[in-house]
Amino acid sequence: MENESKFIAKLKEEETQNKYFEILLNKYKEPIYWHIRKIVLDHDDAHDVLQNTFIKVFKAIKNFKEESKLYTWIYRIATNESLNFIKSKAKKHFKTSEEIMIAQTNKLKQDPYFDGDELQLKFQEVINTLPQKQKLVFQMKYEQEMKFKDISDILGTSEGALKASYHIAVKKIKKEIIKIQTF
C-alpha cells in the first residue's frame, strides 16, 4: 500500500471503515489463509481461524499504533490465532499440541483437500517433528517465501536467530527426505 498511514486512518473512521476494510480483506485473505492453513493443516480449521483473525483485525484496528507495518500486524494475529486454536483443540481432547498435529497429519491421507503423494505426506510428517518456532520459520521462509526481516517482525525474533533456525530446519528435513527417497 502506497500511503499506509492514510489507509489506516480511513480504516479507523466509522464512515469509511467498511469500504476500506473490504479492500484490506480482499488483499490479504488469500496469503493469510495459506499462512494459517500451513499451520493448522485442515481446511475447515483454517477457515475458522481466518474468520477469527479478520474479526480481531476489524475490532482492534482502532487501537493499531502503527509501530509495525499493517500486514506484519495481521500476520502476527493470524499466527497467534492459529497456535491458540491448536492449543485449545489439544486442551479439549486432553492431548498435547504435538499429538494434535500428528493426528492432523494422519488425517491428511483421507483429506480431499490434500493434493500430495506419499512423499508430500512424509514431508509434512517431518515438518511436524520440528520445534514450533523452527516449523514456523521454515514454513514462512520456504513455503511462503517471506523475507527474514518480515518474519522477524511477525515472530518477534532476531533475524540472526531466524536464519540459524531455518538452516537447522532445512538440514533436518533434507536428511529425512533423502532417507525416504533412498528406500
Binding site: 488469500e30 489463509y33 481446511h43 474479526i55 493434493d115 508430500q120
Partner: protein, 153 residues
Amino acid sequence: MMSKNNINLNTNRFKIPKGYFDTITIDNIKKIEKKGFIVPQNYFETININLITKNKFQSKIINLKYRELALRGIAAILIIGFFINGFFSESRSFKEAEILDYMNYELIGYSSSDYVDLFDVNEFEINFEQINELDLEYYIETSFSSDLIINND
C-alpha cells in the same frame, strides 16, 4: 526449491474448495462478529424504574406454631432415645445375672472332664512356678472327697 539432490517438493500440496475465497466477504465477517446472545426487539426499553419498584419484597414470617412442633419432636426423639438406651442397658445386666445364675446353679452337675470339654484348656497358660504347694494341697483336700482322691492314686 531445488536441492543438491534435486528434491523438488510441491510446496502447494493443499487444495481449497472451488470459489472459496469469494465467500470471504466483509458481510460474512460482520455476521460472525455479531453472533452471540440475542435479546428480543426493544427489550431494553421495557426495563424501567416502575417495573423494579412494583415488585416489593415480602419479609419472611416465621410461624411460631411450627417452632413449637419442632421442639416437641426433638423432645420425643430424646425420650425415645433414653428409653432405648435404658432397655438395652437393663437387658445387658439382666443377661449377666442370668449367666451367673446359670454358672452357679445349672453347671453344678458338671464334672471336671465336662468343664474341660466346655473350655479349651490350651487357651489358658498355667504358670506352674506361681502355684504354691500348700495352696495346692488345700485345694485338693477341700475340692474332692476322700473317695475320689483314693481312686485317683
